[in-house]
Symmetry: C2
Subunit: 156 residues, 2 copies
DNA sequence: TTATATAGGACTATTTTAGTACTATATAAG
DNA sequence: CTTATATAGTACTAAAATAGTCCTATATAA
């Protein structure tokens, strides 16, 4: 299925809400009302987004959360990473030594290639796109081989 | 993390092995030996790939599995779909009615856009690429807005 | 000083995934 | 036609990941 977690989904909903009024502070309780996501869950998501420097937080009375930058500069890849950690399709591409077959594995490099492609797809869409659905589309193109070799740089 | 399941990972390993000798029948027991994946697991994966028409099966003595087509025509997207079902990042994009906020959801269409981008990334890599690591790379490009409008066709 | 709001971490329940086992069916070979 | 071998299909169990909740600490405005 290649799913994004529910929390990540909530994160996009919450960020979309905040992005509508980018200059105001949004308290967790307000966001709960607006999004129908349970308060503890909203709170959890906001903390993660804050930690990832997508939101700034203000404590105390009249506190809340605020975007650290314009929605155009917040990429979907970043949101996913904030909630779920680094985007990597297979264990071996994040944790060295996680797989016993690692040394003899032929396809690790190819998974890295796939990771890259997926990551670029996710980086092409921003929070701004989520807020005001622009009919912009990311499209795959096969580049000439030779010119790309350096780009691959697959760690071994 | 945006993971592919372990079974999918096994599937790529198994298919890579088979693709090395595309004209021979490969029994589950042989593949176990070659890949160090447990027999019941190999068996499970092979059945799924067979059901998805990526492999042909031959029963009985001297039976086994065979690719249905050349490795160049087997896309990674298809392998993932065979093991995990349709590629969709969020629940709402596969199952209508799964989300209560569906009717008022602003970002569903955008998830469809993201799905599309990811799918294209995964379709750009084939089993042939996995077998003989070609230094080919898929790259994202932002297309002009107007020309793409028809392509989106986001169901509501 | 008090009310309010976030920070951080721990914990539990649920769901998903991985892995295994069992029975049925098809085929090649003696 | 019988037997050995291999896949088909399904059901079940165990393990891991995720979701969701709660509690205590800290910061800030009034």
């Amino acid at each position: 299925m290649l799913r994004v977690s529910k929390l990540t989904d909530y994160a996009t909903v919450i960020l979309t809400h905040i992005a509508h009024q980018p200059d105001e502070l949004h308290a967790a309780s307000d966001i709960t009302q607006a999004t129908d996501v349970a308060l503890p869950t909203v709170s959890k998501v906001l903390k993660l987004l804050s930690k990832a420097n997508i939101l700034n937080s203000h404590r105390g009375s009249k506190g809340g959360y605020l975007l650290t930058r314009t929605p155009k500069d917040v990429h979907v890849a970043e949101i996913i990473t904030a909630i779920e950690g680094p985007i990597a399709m297979t264990e071996c591409t994040t944790h060295t030594g996680a797989c016993e077959q690692e040394s003899s594995c032929e396809i690790k490099g190819n998974w890295n290639l796939i990771n890259r492609a997926v990551y670029m797809a996710l980086e092409a869409v921003t929070l701004a796109d989520m807020v005001a659905p622009v009919r912009q589309q990311a499209v795959m193109v096969n580049m000439p081989l030779k010119t790309q070799t350096n780009d691959l740089k697959v760690e071994n």
